[in-house]
Protein backbone atom coordinates (compact mmCIF):
# COMPACT_ATOMS: atom_id res chain seq x y z
CA UNK A 1 0.00 0.00 0.00
CA UNK A 2 1.38 3.37 -0.87
CA UNK A 3 1.37 5.90 1.89
CA UNK A 4 1.62 9.62 2.22
CA UNK A 5 4.19 10.64 4.83
CA UNK A 6 2.52 12.22 7.79
CA UNK A 7 -0.93 10.82 7.02
CA UNK A 8 -2.30 7.78 8.84
CA UNK A 9 -2.19 4.54 6.89
CA UNK A 10 -5.48 2.74 6.47
CA UNK A 11 -5.65 -0.87 5.41
CA UNK A 12 -7.93 -3.83 5.68
CA UNK A 13 -6.11 -6.33 7.86
CA UNK A 14 -6.55 -9.88 8.95
CA UNK A 15 -5.55 -11.20 12.33
CA UNK A 16 -3.45 -14.32 12.27
CA UNK A 17 -2.24 -16.11 15.34
CA UNK A 18 0.71 -18.41 14.94
CA UNK A 19 1.87 -20.87 17.56
CA UNK A 20 5.57 -21.25 17.52
CA UNK A 21 6.91 -24.72 16.99
CA UNK A 22 9.77 -25.96 19.06
CA UNK A 23 12.52 -27.49 17.02
CA UNK A 24 15.31 -28.43 19.28
CA UNK A 25 16.47 -25.25 20.89
CA UNK A 26 14.76 -22.84 18.49
CA UNK A 27 11.22 -21.70 18.18
CA UNK A 28 10.33 -21.43 14.54
CA UNK A 29 7.36 -19.90 12.81
CA UNK A 30 7.77 -21.47 9.38
CA UNK A 31 8.01 -18.52 7.01
CA UNK A 32 10.59 -16.07 5.66
CA UNK A 33 10.39 -12.34 5.58
CA UNK A 34 11.87 -9.76 3.26
CA UNK A 35 11.88 -5.99 3.16
CA UNK A 36 12.56 -3.25 5.67
CA UNK A 37 13.49 0.38 5.59
CA UNK A 38 17.13 -0.47 5.09
CA UNK A 39 16.44 -2.70 2.12
CA UNK A 40 15.94 -2.05 -1.58
CA UNK A 41 12.19 -1.83 -2.18
CA UNK A 42 12.49 -2.18 -5.92
CA UNK A 43 13.36 -5.87 -5.63
CA UNK A 44 10.18 -6.80 -3.85
CA UNK A 45 8.11 -9.01 -6.12
CA UNK A 46 5.02 -8.87 -3.95
CA UNK A 47 4.48 -5.19 -3.41
CA UNK A 48 2.25 -3.11 -5.67
CA UNK A 49 4.06 0.10 -4.95
CA UNK A 50 7.75 -0.41 -5.53
CA UNK A 51 8.67 2.18 -2.95
CA UNK A 52 6.93 0.30 -0.18
CA UNK A 53 9.50 -0.61 2.44
CA UNK A 54 7.28 -2.76 4.57
CA UNK A 55 7.90 -6.35 5.72
CA UNK A 56 6.55 -8.97 3.34
CA UNK A 57 6.20 -12.74 3.64
CA UNK A 58 8.40 -14.22 0.96
CA UNK A 59 8.23 -17.96 1.62
CA UNK A 60 6.16 -20.32 3.67
CA UNK A 61 7.42 -23.74 4.62
CA UNK A 62 4.73 -26.25 3.74
CA UNK A 63 3.13 -27.77 6.80
CA UNK A 64 4.66 -25.24 9.13
CA UNK A 65 2.83 -23.25 11.81
CA UNK A 66 2.43 -20.23 9.53
CA UNK A 67 0.70 -22.21 6.81
CA UNK A 68 -1.54 -23.84 9.38
CA UNK A 69 -2.51 -20.45 10.75
CA UNK A 70 -3.45 -19.18 7.31
CA UNK A 71 -0.51 -16.99 6.35
CA UNK A 72 -0.04 -16.67 2.63
CA UNK A 73 2.98 -15.76 0.55
CA UNK A 74 3.03 -12.08 -0.39
CA UNK A 75 1.29 -10.86 2.74
CA UNK A 76 2.48 -7.63 4.22
CA UNK A 77 2.93 -7.72 7.97
CA UNK A 78 1.56 -4.57 9.59
CA UNK A 79 1.91 -5.44 13.28
CA UNK A 80 3.52 -8.19 15.36
CA UNK A 81 2.18 -8.50 18.86
CA UNK A 82 1.30 -4.85 18.79
CA UNK A 83 4.66 -3.72 17.45
CA UNK A 84 4.49 -1.77 14.22
CA UNK A 85 6.15 -3.38 11.22
CA UNK A 86 5.63 -0.73 8.58
CA UNK A 87 8.68 1.34 9.44
CA UNK A 88 11.27 -1.04 10.79
CA UNK A 89 14.57 -2.33 9.59
CA UNK A 90 14.88 -5.90 8.51
CA UNK A 91 16.77 -6.85 11.62
CA UNK A 92 14.28 -5.19 13.95
CA UNK A 93 11.48 -7.13 12.29
CA UNK A 94 13.34 -10.38 12.69
CA UNK A 95 13.92 -9.65 16.37
CA UNK A 96 10.29 -8.85 17.02
CA UNK A 97 9.25 -12.14 15.46
CA UNK A 98 11.81 -14.35 17.16
CA UNK A 99 11.55 -13.35 20.82
CA UNK A 100 12.47 -16.36 22.88
CA UNK A 101 10.01 -15.68 25.64
CA UNK A 102 6.95 -15.54 23.40
CA UNK A 103 5.22 -18.67 22.24
CA UNK A 104 2.55 -17.01 20.21
CA UNK A 105 2.77 -14.25 17.71
CA UNK A 106 -0.30 -12.35 16.69
CA UNK A 107 0.11 -10.74 13.33
CA UNK A 108 -1.94 -8.18 11.52
CA UNK A 109 -1.40 -8.81 7.84
CA UNK A 110 -2.84 -7.27 4.77
CA UNK A 111 -3.14 -8.40 1.21
CA UNK A 112 -4.80 -7.16 -1.90
CA UNK A 113 -7.37 -9.91 -2.07
CA UNK A 114 -8.70 -8.87 1.32
CA UNK A 115 -10.04 -5.63 -0.08
CA UNK A 116 -11.85 -7.38 -2.86
CA UNK A 117 -13.35 -9.92 -0.49
CA UNK A 118 -14.66 -7.21 1.81
CA UNK A 119 -16.13 -5.27 -1.07
CA UNK A 120 -17.78 -8.37 -2.40
CA UNK A 121 -19.27 -9.18 0.93
CA UNK A 122 -20.48 -5.66 1.43
CA UNK A 123 -21.95 -5.67 -2.03
CA UNK A 124 -23.85 -8.90 -1.35
CA UNK A 125 -25.30 -7.62 1.93
CA UNK A 126 -25.58 -3.88 1.47
CA UNK A 127 -27.81 -3.32 4.48
CA UNK A 128 -25.25 -4.84 6.83
Amino acid sequence: MSFVPGQPVTAIVQRIEIQKLRQGENLILGFSIGGGIDQDPGQNPFSEDKSDKGIYVTRITPGGPAEVAGLKMGDKIMQVNGWDMTMVTHDQARKKLTKRKEDVVRLLITRKSLEETVKQSMGCHPKQ
Partner: protein
Protein backbone atom coordinates in the same frame (compact mmCIF):
# COMPACT_ATOMS: atom_id res chain seq x y z
CA UNK B 1 48.93 48.55 -69.82
CA UNK B 2 45.72 48.92 -71.71
CA UNK B 3 45.64 52.67 -71.76
CA UNK B 4 46.09 53.21 -75.46
CA UNK B 5 43.47 50.73 -76.54
CA UNK B 6 40.95 52.18 -74.15
CA UNK B 7 41.38 55.71 -75.31
CA UNK B 8 41.25 54.88 -78.96
CA UNK B 9 38.02 53.08 -78.25
CA UNK B 10 36.54 55.96 -76.32
CA UNK B 11 37.20 58.67 -78.87
CA UNK B 12 34.83 57.31 -81.46
CA UNK B 13 32.35 55.70 -79.12
CA UNK B 14 31.76 58.88 -77.23
CA UNK B 15 28.02 58.62 -77.33
CA UNK B 16 27.99 55.91 -74.66
CA UNK B 17 28.26 56.95 -71.05
CA UNK B 18 31.39 56.32 -69.12
CA UNK B 19 30.14 53.76 -66.65
CA UNK B 20 28.57 51.52 -69.25
CA UNK B 21 31.86 51.68 -71.10
CA UNK B 22 33.56 50.58 -67.92
CA UNK B 23 31.16 47.66 -67.53
CA UNK B 24 31.57 46.67 -71.13
CA UNK B 25 35.35 46.69 -70.81
CA UNK B 26 35.19 44.55 -67.73
CA UNK B 27 32.76 42.16 -69.36
CA UNK B 28 34.99 41.84 -72.41
CA UNK B 29 37.98 41.11 -70.28
CA UNK B 30 36.07 38.49 -68.33
CA UNK B 31 34.75 36.88 -71.43
CA UNK B 32 38.23 36.59 -72.91
CA UNK B 33 39.45 35.03 -69.69
CA UNK B 34 36.62 32.56 -69.60
CA UNK B 35 37.26 31.61 -73.19
CA UNK B 36 40.88 30.89 -72.37
CA UNK B 37 40.03 28.78 -69.37
CA UNK B 38 37.36 26.86 -71.21
CA UNK B 39 39.78 26.04 -74.00
CA UNK B 40 42.08 24.52 -71.42
CA UNK B 41 39.31 22.57 -69.76
CA UNK B 42 37.36 19.71 -71.24
CA UNK B 43 33.84 21.06 -70.98
CA UNK B 44 32.43 24.12 -72.62
CA UNK B 45 31.35 26.56 -69.98
CA UNK B 46 29.10 29.54 -70.25
CA UNK B 47 29.70 31.74 -67.30
CA UNK B 48 27.62 34.68 -66.25
CA UNK B 49 29.63 37.54 -64.90
CA UNK B 50 27.43 39.83 -62.88
CA UNK B 51 30.42 42.05 -62.25
CA UNK B 52 29.78 43.11 -58.68
CA UNK B 53 27.62 41.23 -56.22
CA UNK B 54 24.41 43.12 -55.63
CA UNK B 55 24.51 42.94 -51.87
CA UNK B 56 23.63 46.49 -51.01
CA UNK B 57 21.24 49.05 -52.22
CA UNK B 58 24.02 51.53 -51.62
CA UNK B 59 26.28 50.15 -54.32
CA UNK B 60 23.60 50.38 -56.98
CA UNK B 61 22.85 53.91 -55.94
CA UNK B 62 26.49 54.74 -56.42
CA UNK B 63 26.37 53.45 -59.96
CA UNK B 64 23.40 55.63 -60.81
CA UNK B 65 25.17 58.66 -59.53
CA UNK B 66 28.15 57.66 -61.58
CA UNK B 67 26.09 57.68 -64.77
CA UNK B 68 24.75 61.14 -64.17
CA UNK B 69 28.16 62.48 -63.39
CA UNK B 70 29.60 60.98 -66.59
CA UNK B 71 27.17 62.77 -68.87
CA UNK B 72 28.13 66.30 -68.03
CA UNK B 73 31.95 66.26 -67.99
CA UNK B 74 34.55 66.74 -70.66
CA UNK B 75 36.58 64.06 -72.36
CA UNK B 76 40.08 63.27 -71.16
CA UNK B 77 42.41 62.58 -74.07
CA UNK B 78 45.62 60.64 -73.92
CA UNK B 79 47.85 63.32 -75.42
CA UNK B 80 49.15 64.89 -72.23
CA UNK B 81 51.89 63.19 -70.29
CA UNK B 82 50.15 63.22 -66.97
CA UNK B 83 47.08 61.35 -67.94
CA UNK B 84 45.00 59.10 -65.78
CA UNK B 85 42.96 56.30 -67.17
CA UNK B 86 39.22 56.12 -67.37
CA UNK B 87 38.89 53.91 -64.40
CA UNK B 88 41.03 56.04 -62.15
CA UNK B 89 38.72 58.95 -62.77
CA UNK B 90 35.58 57.07 -61.91
CA UNK B 91 37.21 55.62 -58.88
CA UNK B 92 38.27 59.04 -57.69
CA UNK B 93 34.84 60.50 -58.11
CA UNK B 94 33.33 57.62 -56.23
CA UNK B 95 35.78 58.14 -53.38
CA UNK B 96 35.08 61.83 -53.29
CA UNK B 97 31.37 61.33 -53.16
CA UNK B 98 31.68 58.74 -50.50
CA UNK B 99 33.95 60.64 -48.20
CA UNK B 100 32.84 64.27 -48.18
CA UNK B 101 29.33 64.06 -46.81
CA UNK B 102 30.47 61.78 -44.02
CA UNK B 103 33.66 63.49 -42.97
CA UNK B 104 32.21 66.33 -40.97
CA UNK B 105 29.64 64.39 -39.06
CA UNK B 106 31.77 61.46 -38.14
CA UNK B 107 34.81 63.32 -36.86
CA UNK B 108 33.32 66.32 -35.15
CA UNK B 109 33.12 64.70 -31.74
CA UNK B 110 36.65 63.39 -31.60
CA UNK B 111 37.99 66.60 -33.12
CA UNK B 112 36.40 68.63 -30.39
CA UNK B 113 37.73 66.27 -27.76
CA UNK B 114 41.15 66.44 -29.29
CA UNK B 115 41.24 70.21 -29.23
CA UNK B 116 40.12 70.29 -25.66
CA UNK B 117 42.69 67.81 -24.49
CA UNK B 118 45.44 69.59 -26.39
CA UNK B 119 44.40 72.82 -24.72
CA UNK B 120 44.39 71.12 -21.34
CA UNK B 121 47.83 69.61 -21.87
CA UNK B 122 49.40 72.85 -23.00
CA UNK B 123 47.99 74.86 -20.11
CA UNK B 124 50.49 73.85 -17.41
CA UNK B 125 53.38 74.62 -19.70
CA UNK B 126 51.83 77.99 -20.44
CA UNK B 127 51.46 78.63 -16.72
CA UNK B 128 55.15 78.02 -16.28
CA UNK B 129 56.42 79.83 -19.31
CA UNK B 130 54.36 83.01 -19.18
CA UNK B 131 55.92 84.50 -16.02
CA UNK B 132 59.39 83.67 -17.32
CA UNK B 133 58.68 85.43 -20.55
CA UNK B 134 56.88 88.44 -19.19
CA UNK B 135 58.62 89.44 -15.98
CA UNK B 136 61.67 87.29 -15.67
CA UNK B 137 63.77 89.71 -13.70
CA UNK B 138 61.27 90.21 -10.93
CA UNK B 139 60.89 86.54 -10.13
CA UNK B 140 62.35 85.07 -6.98
CA UNK B 141 64.72 82.27 -7.76
CA UNK B 142 63.64 78.94 -6.41
CA UNK B 143 66.07 76.10 -6.02
CA UNK B 144 65.75 72.39 -5.44
CA UNK B 145 62.04 72.11 -4.64
CA UNK B 146 61.23 73.73 -7.97
CA UNK B 147 63.42 71.34 -9.85
CA UNK B 148 61.72 68.40 -8.16
CA UNK B 149 58.41 69.87 -9.21
CA UNK B 150 59.64 70.33 -12.77
CA UNK B 151 60.60 66.69 -13.05
CA UNK B 152 57.35 65.41 -11.59
CA UNK B 153 55.41 67.77 -13.84
CA UNK B 154 57.23 66.55 -16.89
CA UNK B 155 56.60 62.90 -16.09
CA UNK B 156 52.96 63.42 -15.24
CA UNK B 157 52.45 65.23 -18.51
CA UNK B 158 54.17 62.41 -20.34
CA UNK B 159 51.94 59.86 -18.65
CA UNK B 160 48.87 61.90 -19.51
CA UNK B 161 49.96 62.14 -23.11
CA UNK B 162 50.69 58.47 -23.52
CA UNK B 163 47.52 57.29 -21.83
CA UNK B 164 45.40 59.71 -23.81
CA UNK B 165 46.93 58.41 -26.98
CA UNK B 166 46.42 54.80 -25.91
CA UNK B 167 42.86 55.13 -24.73
CA UNK B 168 41.13 57.93 -26.49
CA UNK B 169 42.88 58.52 -29.77
CA UNK B 170 41.05 55.88 -31.72
CA UNK B 171 38.92 56.39 -34.80
CA UNK B 172 35.27 56.17 -33.74
CA UNK B 173 33.47 53.11 -34.98
CA UNK B 174 29.94 54.37 -34.79
CA UNK B 175 28.00 57.63 -34.85
CA UNK B 176 25.27 57.54 -32.26
CA UNK B 177 21.94 59.29 -32.78
CA UNK B 178 22.14 61.36 -29.61
CA UNK B 179 24.99 62.75 -27.59
CA UNK B 180 27.16 60.30 -25.81
CA UNK B 181 26.34 61.45 -22.31
CA UNK B 182 29.49 60.43 -20.47
CA UNK B 183 31.80 61.83 -23.05
CA UNK B 184 29.96 65.13 -23.10
CA UNK B 185 30.02 65.24 -19.33
CA UNK B 186 33.74 64.69 -19.25
CA UNK B 187 34.46 67.26 -21.90
CA UNK B 188 32.38 69.85 -20.06
CA UNK B 189 34.16 68.97 -16.86
CA UNK B 190 37.59 69.36 -18.40
CA UNK B 191 36.61 72.61 -20.02
CA UNK B 192 35.20 74.11 -16.84
CA UNK B 193 38.15 72.93 -14.90
CA UNK B 194 40.79 74.36 -17.18
CA UNK B 195 38.82 77.56 -17.63
CA UNK B 196 38.56 78.11 -13.90
CA UNK B 197 42.26 77.50 -13.51
CA UNK B 198 42.98 80.07 -16.20
CA UNK B 199 40.63 82.48 -14.49
CA UNK B 200 42.38 82.21 -11.20
CA UNK B 201 45.71 82.37 -12.93
CA UNK B 202 44.78 85.53 -14.73
CA UNK B 203 43.47 87.21 -11.60
CA UNK B 204 46.03 86.11 -9.10
CA UNK B 205 49.21 85.77 -11.12
CA UNK B 206 49.16 87.74 -14.33
CA UNK B 207 47.59 90.91 -13.00
CA UNK B 208 49.57 91.51 -9.86
CA UNK B 209 52.68 89.98 -11.44
CA UNK B 210 53.23 87.45 -8.72
CA UNK B 211 56.88 87.03 -7.77
CA UNK B 212 56.73 83.75 -5.92
CA UNK B 213 57.69 81.41 -8.75
CA UNK B 214 57.51 78.36 -6.56
CA UNK B 215 53.86 79.02 -5.90
CA UNK B 216 53.23 79.23 -9.62
CA UNK B 217 54.99 75.95 -10.23
CA UNK B 218 52.98 74.30 -7.47
CA UNK B 219 49.82 75.71 -9.03
CA UNK B 220 50.70 74.16 -12.38
CA UNK B 221 51.53 70.87 -10.69
CA UNK B 222 48.16 70.79 -8.97
CA UNK B 223 46.48 71.33 -12.33
CA UNK B 224 48.30 68.34 -13.78
CA UNK B 225 47.33 66.21 -10.78
CA UNK B 226 43.72 67.13 -11.23
CA UNK B 227 43.92 66.33 -14.96
CA UNK B 228 45.26 62.91 -14.10
CA UNK B 229 42.30 62.32 -11.83
CA UNK B 230 39.88 63.45 -14.51
CA UNK B 231 41.50 61.01 -16.85
CA UNK B 232 41.02 58.29 -14.28
CA UNK B 233 37.36 59.26 -14.11
CA UNK B 234 37.14 59.12 -17.90
CA UNK B 235 38.73 55.70 -17.92
CA UNK B 236 36.26 54.37 -15.40
CA UNK B 237 33.18 55.90 -17.02
CA UNK B 238 33.98 55.17 -20.64
CA UNK B 239 35.91 51.96 -20.54
CA UNK B 240 35.53 50.07 -17.29
CA UNK B 241 31.98 50.53 -16.10
CA UNK B 242 30.37 48.54 -18.84
CA UNK B 243 32.71 45.58 -18.60
CA UNK B 244 31.01 43.74 -15.78
CA UNK B 245 28.02 41.87 -17.26
CA UNK B 246 24.65 42.88 -15.86
CA UNK B 247 22.10 42.26 -18.60
CA UNK B 248 21.38 39.54 -21.08
CA UNK B 249 20.36 40.76 -24.52
CA UNK B 250 18.42 38.53 -26.85
CA UNK B 251 18.89 39.56 -30.46
CA UNK B 252 16.48 38.11 -33.00
CA UNK B 253 16.52 38.81 -36.71
CA UNK B 254 13.02 39.52 -37.89
CA UNK B 255 13.15 37.75 -41.24
CA UNK B 256 14.42 34.30 -40.43
CA UNK B 257 14.48 34.08 -36.65
CA UNK B 258 18.24 33.71 -36.22
CA UNK B 259 18.87 34.58 -32.59
CA UNK B 260 21.75 34.97 -30.17
CA UNK B 261 22.16 35.85 -26.53
CA UNK B 262 24.78 38.30 -25.31
CA UNK B 263 25.89 39.40 -21.87
CA UNK B 264 26.43 43.10 -21.54
CA UNK B 265 27.13 45.59 -18.75
CA UNK B 266 25.50 48.86 -17.84
CA UNK B 267 25.18 50.77 -21.05
CA UNK B 268 22.85 53.31 -22.53
CA UNK B 269 20.53 52.08 -25.24
CA UNK B 270 22.50 53.62 -28.07
CA UNK B 271 25.80 52.27 -26.87
CA UNK B 272 24.25 48.85 -26.41
CA UNK B 273 22.93 49.09 -29.97
CA UNK B 274 26.41 49.84 -31.30
CA UNK B 275 27.79 46.94 -29.27
CA UNK B 276 25.15 44.56 -30.61
CA UNK B 277 25.86 45.61 -34.18
CA UNK B 278 29.54 44.92 -33.67
CA UNK B 279 28.68 41.39 -32.67
CA UNK B 280 26.04 41.05 -35.38
CA UNK B 281 28.55 41.34 -38.18
CA UNK B 282 30.66 38.49 -36.98
CA UNK B 283 28.17 36.18 -35.27
CA UNK B 284 25.06 36.13 -37.41
CA UNK B 285 24.97 34.28 -40.68
CA UNK B 286 24.40 36.52 -43.64
CA UNK B 287 20.85 37.52 -44.45
CA UNK B 288 19.74 35.86 -47.63
CA UNK B 289 16.57 37.44 -49.01
CA UNK B 290 16.11 34.54 -51.40
CA UNK B 291 15.33 32.10 -48.61
CA UNK B 292 11.70 32.68 -47.70
CA UNK B 293 9.60 30.85 -45.18
CA UNK B 294 7.33 28.79 -47.33
CA UNK B 295 7.29 28.53 -51.08
CA UNK B 296 4.31 30.23 -52.57
CA UNK B 297 3.08 27.05 -54.21
CA UNK B 298 2.24 25.58 -50.84
CA UNK B 299 0.80 28.67 -49.23
CA UNK B 300 -1.41 29.57 -52.14
CA UNK B 301 -3.14 26.23 -51.96
CA UNK B 302 -4.52 27.30 -48.61
CA UNK B 303 -6.12 30.34 -50.12
CA UNK B 304 -8.11 28.57 -52.75
CA UNK B 305 -11.30 27.17 -51.41
CA UNK B 306 -14.78 26.86 -52.68
CA UNK B 307 -16.46 29.97 -53.84
CA UNK B 308 -20.15 29.68 -53.39
CA UNK B 309 -22.45 31.62 -55.64
CA UNK B 310 -26.13 31.55 -55.08
CA UNK B 311 -27.90 31.62 -58.40
CA UNK B 312 -31.45 31.65 -57.06
CA UNK B 313 -33.23 34.90 -56.62
CA UNK B 314 -34.71 33.91 -53.29
CA UNK B 315 -32.10 31.87 -51.50
CA UNK B 316 -33.73 29.38 -49.19
CA UNK B 317 -32.33 28.24 -45.88
CA UNK B 318 -31.36 24.96 -47.40
CA UNK B 319 -28.90 26.50 -49.85
CA UNK B 320 -27.07 28.49 -47.16
CA UNK B 321 -26.84 25.36 -45.07
CA UNK B 322 -25.43 23.49 -48.03
CA UNK B 323 -22.87 26.17 -48.79
CA UNK B 324 -21.76 26.20 -45.19
CA UNK B 325 -21.29 22.46 -45.30
CA UNK B 326 -19.26 22.76 -48.48
CA UNK B 327 -17.03 25.41 -46.97
CA UNK B 328 -16.47 23.25 -43.92
CA UNK B 329 -15.52 20.35 -46.15
CA UNK B 330 -13.12 22.56 -48.04
CA UNK B 331 -11.58 23.75 -44.79
CA UNK B 332 -10.99 20.19 -43.71
CA UNK B 333 -9.42 19.40 -47.03
CA UNK B 334 -6.97 22.30 -46.75
CA UNK B 335 -5.02 20.44 -44.12
CA UNK B 336 -2.86 18.73 -46.70
CA UNK B 337 -0.50 21.66 -47.08
CA UNK B 338 1.74 20.48 -44.28
CA UNK B 339 2.17 17.25 -46.14
CA UNK B 340 3.30 19.04 -49.24
CA UNK B 341 5.64 21.21 -47.25
CA UNK B 342 7.24 18.14 -45.74
CA UNK B 343 7.81 16.47 -49.07
CA UNK B 344 9.04 19.67 -50.64
CA UNK B 345 11.58 20.10 -47.86
CA UNK B 346 12.79 16.52 -48.22
CA UNK B 347 13.13 16.92 -51.96
CA UNK B 348 15.07 20.16 -51.59
CA UNK B 349 17.43 18.60 -49.09
CA UNK B 350 18.08 15.66 -51.34
CA UNK B 351 18.80 17.96 -54.24
CA UNK B 352 21.22 20.03 -52.20
CA UNK B 353 23.05 16.95 -51.00
CA UNK B 354 23.38 15.62 -54.51
CA UNK B 355 24.76 18.87 -55.85
CA UNK B 356 27.08 19.17 -52.90
CA UNK B 357 28.48 15.71 -53.56
CA UNK B 358 29.12 16.62 -57.20
CA UNK B 359 30.77 19.86 -56.17
CA UNK B 360 33.06 18.22 -53.65
CA UNK B 361 34.19 15.62 -56.14
CA UNK B 362 34.77 18.19 -58.85
CA UNK B 363 36.83 20.39 -56.56
CA UNK B 364 38.90 17.51 -55.27
CA UNK B 365 39.70 16.44 -58.80
CA UNK B 366 40.53 19.97 -59.85
CA UNK B 367 42.97 20.40 -57.01
CA UNK B 368 44.89 17.32 -58.09
CA UNK B 369 45.84 19.02 -61.35
CA UNK B 370 48.05 21.49 -59.57
CA UNK B 371 51.24 21.07 -57.67
CA UNK B 372 53.40 23.54 -55.86
CA UNK B 373 56.80 24.02 -57.45
CA UNK B 374 59.62 23.97 -54.91
CA UNK B 375 62.83 25.94 -55.27
CA UNK B 376 65.04 22.96 -55.94
CA UNK B 377 62.78 21.48 -58.57
CA UNK B 378 63.43 24.15 -61.10
CA UNK B 379 65.50 22.02 -63.42
CA UNK B 380 63.16 20.09 -65.63
CA UNK B 381 63.80 18.10 -68.73
CA UNK B 382 63.75 20.14 -71.96
CA UNK B 383 61.40 17.65 -73.59
CA UNK B 384 58.51 18.39 -71.20
CA UNK B 385 58.75 22.03 -70.31
CA UNK B 386 56.53 22.80 -67.39
CA UNK B 387 54.66 25.99 -67.58
CA UNK B 388 55.38 27.92 -64.40
CA UNK B 389 52.34 29.90 -63.32
CA UNK B 390 51.66 32.43 -60.63
CA UNK B 391 48.69 31.79 -58.31
CA UNK B 392 46.23 33.77 -60.39
CA UNK B 393 46.93 31.78 -63.53
CA UNK B 394 46.93 28.53 -61.61
CA UNK B 395 43.53 29.40 -60.19
CA UNK B 396 42.16 30.16 -63.62
CA UNK B 397 43.58 26.93 -64.92
CA UNK B 398 41.77 24.73 -62.47
CA UNK B 399 38.62 26.76 -62.21
CA UNK B 400 37.04 25.56 -65.42
CA UNK B 401 36.29 21.94 -64.48
CA UNK B 402 34.66 22.93 -61.22
CA UNK B 403 32.84 26.01 -62.39
CA UNK B 404 29.71 24.26 -63.54
CA UNK B 405 29.30 22.19 -60.38
CA UNK B 406 29.95 25.27 -58.28
CA UNK B 407 27.41 27.33 -60.09
CA UNK B 408 24.74 24.65 -59.83
CA UNK B 409 25.36 24.25 -56.13
CA UNK B 410 25.21 27.97 -55.50
CA UNK B 411 22.02 28.25 -57.42
CA UNK B 412 20.40 25.41 -55.47
CA UNK B 413 21.30 26.93 -52.14
CA UNK B 414 20.33 30.36 -53.45
CA UNK B 415 23.72 31.85 -52.68
CA UNK B 416 24.56 32.93 -56.19
CA UNK B 417 24.00 36.58 -55.35
CA UNK B 418 26.80 36.55 -52.82
CA UNK B 419 29.52 35.02 -54.95
CA UNK B 420 30.55 36.39 -58.29
CA UNK B 421 32.94 34.53 -60.51
CA UNK B 422 35.60 37.07 -59.71
CA UNK B 423 35.26 36.48 -56.01
CA UNK B 424 35.41 32.71 -56.45
CA UNK B 425 38.57 33.04 -58.51
CA UNK B 426 40.12 35.32 -55.94
CA UNK B 427 39.29 32.91 -53.17
CA UNK B 428 40.69 30.01 -55.17
CA UNK B 429 43.88 31.93 -55.74
CA UNK B 430 44.07 32.68 -52.02
CA UNK B 431 43.61 29.02 -51.10
CA UNK B 432 46.22 27.86 -53.57
CA UNK B 433 48.72 30.36 -52.25
CA UNK B 434 48.24 29.16 -48.69
CA UNK B 435 48.32 25.44 -49.45
CA UNK B 436 44.76 24.81 -48.47
CA UNK B 437 42.95 21.57 -49.15
CA UNK B 438 39.79 21.42 -51.27
CA UNK B 439 37.74 21.14 -48.10
CA UNK B 440 39.20 24.40 -46.81
CA UNK B 441 38.41 26.04 -50.12
CA UNK B 442 34.83 24.82 -49.94
CA UNK B 443 34.04 25.85 -46.36
CA UNK B 444 33.22 29.30 -47.60
CA UNK B 445 30.47 28.02 -49.85
CA UNK B 446 29.04 25.10 -47.95
CA UNK B 447 27.92 27.07 -44.92
CA UNK B 448 26.60 30.62 -45.04
CA UNK B 449 29.19 32.58 -43.14
CA UNK B 450 28.84 35.68 -40.99
CA UNK B 451 27.92 38.93 -42.63
CA UNK B 452 31.46 40.19 -42.21
CA UNK B 453 32.66 37.77 -44.81
CA UNK B 454 30.63 39.40 -47.53
CA UNK B 455 31.39 43.01 -46.73
CA UNK B 456 33.07 45.19 -49.27
CA UNK B 457 35.49 47.62 -47.76
CA UNK B 458 33.41 50.72 -48.14
CA UNK B 459 34.36 53.91 -46.50
CA UNK B 460 30.71 54.85 -46.20
CA UNK B 461 29.78 52.52 -43.41
CA UNK B 462 26.44 50.91 -42.79
CA UNK B 463 23.26 52.80 -42.09
CA UNK B 464 21.12 51.43 -39.26
CA UNK B 465 18.10 53.00 -37.60
CA UNK B 466 17.53 52.60 -33.88
CA UNK B 467 13.84 52.30 -33.08
CA UNK B 468 12.96 52.60 -29.44
CA UNK B 469 10.11 53.74 -27.23
CA UNK B 470 12.42 55.08 -24.58
CA UNK B 471 14.92 57.91 -25.09
CA UNK B 472 18.07 56.32 -26.40
CA UNK B 473 20.38 57.83 -23.82
CA UNK B 474 18.60 56.11 -20.93
CA UNK B 475 20.26 53.06 -19.46
CA UNK B 476 19.31 49.44 -20.02
CA UNK B 477 16.57 48.07 -17.77
CA UNK B 478 14.58 44.94 -17.46
CA UNK B 479 11.92 44.45 -20.08
CA UNK B 480 13.28 47.03 -22.47
CA UNK B 481 12.79 46.30 -26.15
CA UNK B 482 14.37 48.19 -29.01
CA UNK B 483 15.03 47.31 -32.58
CA UNK B 484 17.66 48.09 -35.15
CA UNK B 485 16.26 48.50 -38.58
CA UNK B 486 17.83 48.14 -41.94
CA UNK B 487 15.96 48.57 -45.23
CA UNK B 488 14.75 45.01 -45.54
CA UNK B 489 15.09 43.43 -42.12
CA UNK B 490 15.44 44.39 -38.50
CA UNK B 491 17.00 43.06 -35.33
CA UNK B 492 14.77 43.03 -32.28
CA UNK B 493 16.63 43.24 -28.97
CA UNK B 494 15.08 42.28 -25.63
CA UNK B 495 16.77 43.08 -22.35
CA UNK B 496 16.60 40.89 -19.28
CA UNK B 497 18.76 41.34 -16.21
CA UNK B 498 21.10 38.55 -15.25
CA UNK B 499 19.86 36.69 -12.18
CA UNK B 500 21.34 37.41 -8.81
CA UNK B 501 23.42 34.43 -7.75
CA UNK B 502 23.41 33.18 -4.21
CA UNK B 503 26.41 30.97 -3.86
CA UNK B 504 26.49 28.75 -0.80
CA UNK B 505 29.28 26.62 0.46
CA UNK B 506 29.36 22.94 1.27
CA UNK B 507 32.44 21.22 2.49
CA UNK B 508 32.83 17.53 1.69
CA UNK B 509 35.42 15.58 3.62
CA UNK B 510 37.27 13.45 1.08
CA UNK B 511 37.11 10.56 3.53
CA UNK B 512 33.34 10.69 3.66
CA UNK B 513 32.77 8.95 0.35
CA UNK B 514 31.59 5.52 1.44
CA UNK B 515 29.32 3.02 -0.27
CA UNK B 516 27.34 -0.07 0.64
CA UNK B 517 25.65 -2.70 -1.44
CA UNK B 518 21.90 -2.60 -1.76
CA UNK B 519 20.33 -5.28 0.41
CA UNK B 520 17.55 -7.66 -0.35
CA UNK B 521 17.91 -10.20 2.37
CA UNK B 522 15.43 -12.80 3.29
CA UNK B 523 15.35 -14.16 6.81
CA UNK B 524 13.48 -17.19 7.85
CA UNK B 525 11.84 -17.03 11.20
Amino acid sequence: MDNESQYSGYSYKSSHSRSSRKHRDRRDRHRSKSRDSSSRGDKSVTIQTPGEPLLDAESTRGDDRDDNWGETTTVVTGTSEHSISNEDLTRLTKDLEESTPLECKRFIGPALGGCLSFFALVTPLAFLILPQVLWRDALEPCGTPCEGLYVSLAFKLLVLLISSWALFLRPPRATLPRFFVFRCLLMVLVFLFVASYWLFYGVRVLEPRERDYRGIVEYAASLVDALLFIQYLALVLLEVRHLQPAFCLKVVRSTDGASKFYNVGHLSIQRAAAWVLDRYYSDFSVYNPAVVNLPKSILSKKMTGFKVYSLDENPTNNSTGQSRAMIAAAARRRDNSHNEYYYEEAEMERRIRKRKARLVVAVEEAFTHIKRLHEDEVASSPKHPREVMDPREAAQAIFAPMARAMQKYLRTTRQQAFHSMESILTHLQFCITHNMTPKAFLERYLTPGPTMQYQQQNGRGRQWTLVSEEPVTSGLRQGLVFSLRRSDFSLVVTVTPLPFLRLGEEFIDPKSHKFVMRLQSETSV
